[in-house]
């Protein structure tokens, strides 16, 4: 009997030991290196899949699920719409649940996101201790967006101090000359808010807007798009002289209606790359990257890259000037990051997370 008991004990011990050695899950090796390109993968709305992929362009290595690696395997509850770095904070705009998540430059999240007074956050920009967050509001009508607003978030106290009403579906944001410029995605206008008085005025546009780029003189380029809720006949790239708030438009058809990163400056800021479709030789509409020359203020006649289906956005590496083009026709599959030189030569293609939308570059 005693012999059997010992055998049983030994068996149990062996079972425990071998079970402990079972390697069901890959181990986590959090990175301590910051430098790299961080790709925001939106995932599928309300269905998860959002993540950050890190691309170490020096070593040509992609680490998918980088955020989970840095946070003990924890996944984002939200779909990350937009990422923005200011100081030592990276702010992530999370959808469903709606929240503003703050992580450090290693993408470690120490505190829960802020959801109070944050409803459908889209984009953000910092001015001193405040982060201005464009929000579409609770239960939007997807037509006029009467309840959309700008949330004024105190970075130090981590509290939304104020909701500044702004109908029209605010999307991209930029600050110039003490004013907050807001691209309205459901109204043919750019809203201009004085940061001191918070008084709002409007610049009329021929189409709804999505994002801004600020040139070296503080003037703004704004993307003008035709959306299903607010169609427009004239789309393209607008230029706002911020001292006068006068808009001039360079037409370009079929500008991408995607979000987060549909245009970017070249490394030397001499060009703007814009995601826009055009007809190919067979009169088939194909996605591509059009080039706006800042010197001539015209679009080049040929696309830098064409024939891309499912183009989500693009970012430019400020170190080497390479263009990262994000491709993802579906929200439930892995996306692609296609890397091109500034001249449009294909360099590499990397698999990233689901629905990649943009990249931020950290050093």
């Amino acid at each position: 009997m005693k012999k059997y008991f010992k055998f049983l004990l030994l068996s149990l011990f062996a079972l425990v030991v071998f079970n402990s050695c079972t390697k069901d899950d890959p181990e986590l090796y959090p990175s301590t290196l910051v430098k790299g390109a961080y790709i925001v993968n939106y995932g599928s709305f309300q269905k998860g899949g959002s993540s950050i992929s890190k691309y170490d362009y020096d070593k040509d290595v992609v680490t998918n699920f980088f955020d989970q690696q840095q946070n003990k395997g924890s996944v984002f509850a939200s779909n990350i719409q937009f990422a923005y770095k200011t100081g030592d904070n990276i702010f992530l705009m999370g959808n469903s649940p709606d929240q503003v998540i703050s992580v450090d430059p290693l993408f470690v999240q120490a505190k829960n996101g802020v959801s109070d007074k944050i409803a459908k956050p889209r984009s953000c920009i910092a001015d001193g201790k405040y982060l201005y967050v464009s929000c579409w509001g609770e239960n939007p009508d997807w037509k006029l967006m009467p309840n959309s607003y700008i949330a004024k978030y105190n970075i130090e106290t981590k509290v939304v101090e104020k909701k500044i009403e702004l109908a029209g579906g605010p999307e991209g944001l930029e600050i110039s000359n003490g004013k907050l410029y807001v691209a309205l995605n459901f109204k043919k206008a750019v809203a201009v808010m004085d940061l001191k008085t918070e008084a709002i005025s409007y610049i009329e546009t021929p189409a709804v807007c999505s994002y801004f780029l600020k040139d070296n003189s503080g003037n703004l380029y704004v993307s003008l798009i035709s959306s299903y809720s607010t169609p427009a006949t004239q789309t393209g790239l607008g230029y706002i002289t911020t001292s006068t708030n006068v808009l001039t438009v360079t037409p370009l058809e079929n500008v991408s209606t995607e979000y987060a990163s549909i245009m970017a400056f070249s490394k030397d800021k001499s060009k703007i790359f814009v995601a826009a479709a055009a007809y190919d030789a067979n009169w088939v509409m194909v996605g591509g990257i059009q080039v706006f020359n800042l010197a001539t203020r015209k679009f080049e006649s040929n696309a830098l890259v064409s024939g891309i289906s499912g183009l989500k956005g693009l970012s430019v590496n400020p170190v080497d000037g390479n263009i990262y083009v994000f491709v993802s026709p579906s929200t439930t599959n892995n996306g692609l990051m296609k890397i091109y030189s500034e001249a449009g030569n294909a360099i590499a293609e990397k698999t990233v997370g689901a629905s990649p939308t943009m990249a931020i570059f950290l050093n």
């Binding site: 984002f76 649940p97 299903y228």
Partner: protein, 648 residues
């Protein structure tokens, strides 16, 4: 609508209370169900299974989604709120037509019906057809079809059936069916009201809570449901071979769009969906001459309002007319041919009147059967649809049923079916804002099926065992993908679905004990074999399609008592292909097993029948997700009272 409904319900119940309980013979005999018999006649080799009456009674407090998930080997992607879509043989929800009379009730804008908005209580029989049947049912029947049947009772007298049930988490069902007639004229009124608060507790893993990681006990909010409906039938029988039947179905379904587990701790107010439907079908049938004539007229109004915003209405109006001639040249040979015309007018805020004002569709069809050597039955179906500004494929199907052997107590049959199927794209696919794609091709499928059927019928035991293997290939599968500028519907995939289905149904009588035992199992690998997207995934099981699904059901009847138990297993399902750190090849939802049981007793009060029932659902308190991030209820109960009253 709700007030009208409640007044009607009270009137019906009150009338029964004051009714005299005289000796009325049970004049209601379920001798013909509208859908089933004619379907089998022209579809040899097709697998069409009725949901048994006892299971319909168990599921009558809910919607058809719960019924199918519990008692058939069919997967439905559903949450606890009001959204539930069928994936019959791994196909998409748009690939199952749902037929009521001559109407396919699927939304013409979305392409499918939410199965949680099809109430079981209103119908006498529900038949499930597995596999392609476009040659019979028209566009959309790639994976199969559901047939919602009303029995023609030809009531002589008055009869009232009422049902009342209360369940956990605020579930209520009130229903009544009033039959009145003189044997020639008949009026049948069916009413129901169903509501569910759905405030059930569940284990919330609180994903994203980095300050307090770990699972907590939480409570669902924002998942309430309120459905109500009425079907009014007016039927008149001129003689044994000539009748006019009409049914008007009004349905109002409202539900909150269930908040995910991740959202319930935020201040988010749930959005709502409000669906109103008017469905009318009237049919005249004349079988006096060798050439039988059947003609039908119908009207359908569908309207969906999102979150109470009436500017965002999505609706269609349809007029339907059908005429059919049918002749049995002999008992061995027969045919039917007909035409079905639809005039459709969309009313959708996102459609431009310049692009779509109306659409017309005309289906021409021919069906025939031939029986040879008393052993072999062959059927041929041909269909061609013509659509305004769209080209639909010619759709044939060929079926065969061969009796291999039969004895005094058993039959063994072999059957097979080859059918082409198609689906014309939905209105949204073609006309939604600037994203609609009028250049889409129809989805185009081929279905091959082989089945074995063994039936045993002895004095104390009857058993029916079926084994089916099938292969389906669907080209030009439509998905919404990001295109050159925006999201558009595109023909991007070719999907292959194959599998084995096993079903058995056994009745066994021992003295006064009657057993019924059923087993359903399906093994169904479904893969995309071609995807034209640069990131398309091929060679993997389709999202939200389990490879393995099965269930079993045991009912025991002893005199006036009925006891049942059922259990269902749903295998793992991919929720996405992008995955996570721990599931880099795609996020897989866990498999789960649900068990339920119940008991009912028939009583006789004042010579009328009263049924009391009690059911316990999810008795193992299984914690599971059918759709990722959507909580499902744990153990819950339902208590019911039904009456079957003869009046006058």
């Amino acid at each position: 609508m709700r007030r009208f409904f409640l007044v009607q319900l009270i009137l019906v119940i009150t009338s029964s209370a004051f009714a005299q309980h005289n000796n009325l013979a049970d004049t209601i005999m379920l001798h013909e169900v509208v859908t089933y018999a004619p379907l089998k006649k022209y579809q040899a080799g097709a697998k069409i299974e009725p949901i048994p009456g006892d299971q319909m009674i168990i599921g009558q407090a809910g919607s058809i989604d719960q019924l199918l998930m519990r008692f058939t080997p069919v997967y439905l992607k559903s949450n606890a709120g009001g959204l539930s879509t069928i994936h019959l043989r791994g196909t998409s929800p748009n690939h199952t037509s749902v037929n009521f009379g001559g109407i396919n009730i699927n939304s013409l804008t979305l392409g499918h019906s939410s199965m949680s908005e099809v109430p079981v209580f209103l119908f006498d029989e529900i038949d499930l057809q597995y596999g392609s049947s476009s040659a019979i049912n028209g566009s959309g029947s790639i994976g199969g079809a559901l047939h919602l049947g009303l029995a023609n009772n030809w009531t002589n007298g008055m009869k009232l059936k009422t049902t009342l049930s209360e369940g956990s988490f605020g579930e209520q069902l009130y229903g009544a069916k009033l039959f009145a007639g003189n044997g020639r004229f008949e009026s049948v009124t069916r009413l129901f009201y169903f509501s569910l608060k759905n405030d059930f507790p569940f284990n919330n893993p609180k994903i994203g809570d980095v300050e307090h990681p770990g699972t907590i006990r939480d409570r669902q909010r924002g998942a309430a449901i309120e459905n109500e409906g009425v079907i009014q039938e007016i039927n008149y029988r001129f003689n044994e071979k000539e009748a006019l039947k009409s049914a008007l179905w009004l349905e109002h379904d409202w539900h909150e769009i269930q908040l995910t587990m991740n959202e319930i701790w935020t201040p988010k107010v749930p959005e709502t969906l409000d669906n109103k439907h008017i469905r009318f079908w009237s049919e005249y049938e004349n079988r006096k001459n060798p050439l039988n004539i059947r003609g039908g007229l119908g009207y359908v109004h569908d309207m969906q309002v999102y979150d109470g915003d009436k500017k965002q209405k999505i609706g269609t109006n349809r007029l339907i007319a059908e005429i059919e001639g049918r002749q049995d040249i002999s008992t061995r040979l027969g045919y039917k041919l007909g035409v079905k015309y639809q005039y459709i007018k969309p009313d959708v805020y996102a459609y431009s009147a310049d692009v779509i004002k109306q659409e017309q569709q005309a289906d021409f069809y021919f069906s025939s059967f031939y029986t040879a050597w008393n052993r072999l039955k062959l059927t041929l179906n041909l269909r061609q649809l013509f659509v305004t500004n769209f080209e639909a494929p010619f759709t044939p199907s060929l079926g065969a049923e061969y009796r291999v052997f039969s004895t005094d107590y058993s039959v063994f049959k072999l059957n097979g079916n080859i059918s082409r199927s198609y689906r014309i794209p939905t209105f949204n696919d073609r006309y939604w804002g600037t994203q609609g794609n009028p250049n889409l091709k129809p989805e185009d499928g081929m279905n091959y099926e082989l089945g074995l059927n063994y039936a045993l019928c002895k004095e104390n035991i009857q058993s029916d065992v079926k084994l089916n293997v099938f292969y389906m290939d669907v080209k030009n599968w439509i998905e919404w993908r990001l295109g050159a500028v925006d999201w558009t519907a595109q023909n991007v995939m070719e999907v292959e679905s194959k599998g084995i289905e096993f079903q058995s149904n056994t009745d066994w009588t021992v003295n006064k004990l009657k057993f019924n035992f059923r087993i359903n199992y399906s093994f169904n690998p479904v893969e995309t074999i071609k995807d034209e997207s640069p990131t398309g995934v091929t060679g993997r099981q389709l999202l939200y399609v389990p490879k393995n699904i099965g269930n079993t059901y045991l009912r025991l009847n002893y005199q006036l008592w009925n006891v049942f138990a059922d259990g269902g297993y749903t295998g793992k399902r991919f929720a996405d292909y992008s995955g996570s750190y721990y599931m880099p090849k795609g996020y897989e939802l866990d498999s789960y097993f649900l068990a339920n049981c119940g008991i009912s007793r028939k009583l006789s009060l004042f010579k009328q029948s009263v049924f009391l029932s009690f059911a316990l659902n999810n008795i193992l308190n299984t914690d599971y997700q059918n759709e990722r991030f959507y909580a499902m209820p744990g153990r819950n109960f339902r208590i019911g009272l039904s009456t079957d009253i003869n009046i006058h």
